[in-house]
Amino acid sequence: MTDNKLINLINISKSYGDNVVLDELNLYIRENEFLTLLGPSGCGKTTTLRIIGGFENPDKGQVIFEGKDITKLPPNERQLNTVFQKYALFTHMTIAENIAFGLKIKKKSKDYINDKIKYALKLVNLDGFENRMPDSLSGGQQQRIAIARAIVNEPKVLLLDEPLGALDLKLRQDMQYELIRLKNELGITFIYVTHDQEEALTMSDTVVVMNQGYIQQIGSPEDIYNEPQNAFVADFIGESNILPSIMIEDKLVNILGTSFACVDTGFGRNKPVDVVIRPEDIDLVKPEDGIIKGVVTSLLFKGVHYEMEVNANGHDWLVHSTDLVPVGNEVGIWVDPYDIQIMNKPESEDEEAVELDI
């Protein structure tokens, strides 16, 4: 990844009738970056991708590609290629013809095209599939052909619209590794759209969390997970305890009536904030050793860990732990200062979008 901005979206707005899908969106994508647009359905992530691909025109704003304004350029004149969710292979053509489609339009020589087909099939681990028909392939294979068909055109950017959405879990996980490998071998920019937070965290250099047409947070997967900037991001990415609290002073926050030490500064004095604590960051200790005391009210075995709810200070705290504490037992809750993430309260209704519709 370089610092060179390859694509720049400036003040993009788009609405369908009364429905505002994107509102003044600003985003840049760097060369060689794996950027993921993540959010629930209807958040505007696919529309953003389609605007970059040229399948939708924004009502307002500009799309800058390598310094040039391509806002009005039709998709067939853009130097990027798309992998669609439903594969969109040409069913009446063989695999080889599918892959050759773009190259034939560019009037490449027969030898060049044949070499490219071989190379692309090898890259997606489907050597020898040249003469098969798309219907005879499994979903995962079809999706890999769709990728092969896109990359033979040597695009600077590959757009992927929920490409793994239609695959089953195991295949999806395998394909995640494949995509990372492909990205590294090709050395091009990937813009990836998904509603699956695990996919986003696993593959991306940068994650853009979106909701209701607004960007909620941009950051590395670690940033997004560990330091969510608002309740929406915290809730959407993984499980969390989101607690209304008051920032008493720097490095001290009052959560549900009890003071906790934290590491955040600069929020001011006695300011209402939201606190995020991940369930795996809560340690259950002896009642007298905890910061607050609580009673275990439910217990579920989840395989890797136990999921417990602990009622303390009138709130049910979600706790993930590998140690079992039976229901009804009294425990102490301990949270390390650096595991407490402080967020500003949402300032407008638009930003407050905790309601999930997935």
């Binding site: 067939n76 439903k86 969109a88 009446h92 489609f101 773009g102 339009i105 219907d135 005879s136 769709a146």
Partner: protein, 263 residues
């Protein structure tokens, strides 16, 4: 065992009812005697007579030309219309589909009469062109009806994928969309062709005195008394349609086989 015999018997009964009339017709077309109840020996006489009959040959020619032209033009208009309709937003789409279906449900006699009145009002001379226009008119809904489902089956991104790979909209249509919906277009064409071959009522009202298609010709002949030539003609038409069907079915079966081979 009894069940199987019953099954065979039932199928035999259905086939008998379906094909007995046609079988009688075919037999009669080779009957040397003019009578409809007596077998007078095998002959090809009526076929020879048929091909010598200038009026019938003329009508056959007109019928085929009109069927071919009207089916072809209706297929083009109908396919384009189907594509346009399916890319519309929901409310106008539903209304338009309803409107295009009206001619299908309308009684032939109403369509025929109103077309004739329209031609007369426009001072359009009834003849070959008016029949052709009428046939195109009632054929278009059949084409739309058979192309529409194919368009719905298209993956919504197929066209976009073609554009994405650098195809111009026209190239994308002919290389990607048309081959995918082609079975529907072909079905629409054959349906239109058959409908046009078949039509009597609308042709009757719009043809004027100058020309005849087979159906109107047969109608006038029958009023004078049925000649065995007509049996021969009907037999040939039946065989032609049968051959057409066999060809289409074979084509479809071949396609399925090639797909299966790869499984």
């Amino acid at each position: 065992m009894v069940k199987r015999i019953m099954e065979k018997f039932y199928v035999g009964l259905i086939l008998l009812f379906l094909y007995a009339p046609i079988f009688v017709l075919i037999v009669l077309s080779f009957n040397q005697a003019k009578s409809r109840s007596k077998w007078g020996g095998f002959t090809l006489h009526w076929y020879r007579e048929l091909f010598k009959n200038k009026y019938i040959m003329n009508a056959l020619y007109t019928t085929l030309i009109i069927a071919l032209l009207s089916a072809l033009i209706a297929t083009i208009i109908g396919t384009v219309a189907a594509i346009a309709i399916s890319s519309m937003r929901k409310p106008p789409r539903t209304i338009l589909i309803g409107i295009t279906n009206i001619p299908l449900l309308n009684a032939d006699i109403v369509t025929g009469l109103s077309l004739m009145l329209l031609f007369v009002a426009l001072r359009f001379t009834l003849g070959f062109t008016s029949v052709l226009i009428s046939h195109i008119t009632f054929n278009i809904p059949y084409v739309i009806l058979s192309v529409m489902p194919k368009i719905r089956q298209l993956s919504p991104n197929t066209y976009e994928a073609a554009l994405d790979l650098g195809a111009s909209p026209i190239y994308a249509f002919f290389k990607v969309i048309l081959p995918d919906i082609f079975p529907g277009v072909l079905t629409g064409f054959f349906l239109a062709f058959t409908m046009s071959l078949d039509d009597f009522v609308i042709t009757h009202f719009t043809k004027g005195p100058q020309i005849n298609t087979l159906s109107t010709k047969i109608y006038t002949e029958v009023r004078k008394g049925i000649k065995p030539e007509i049996y021969a003609l009907s037999t040939l038409m039946f065989i032609a349609v049968l051959l057409l069907l066999v060809i289409i079915n074979r084509r479809n079966a071949d396609k399925k086989d090639t797909i299966k081979k790869f499984d």
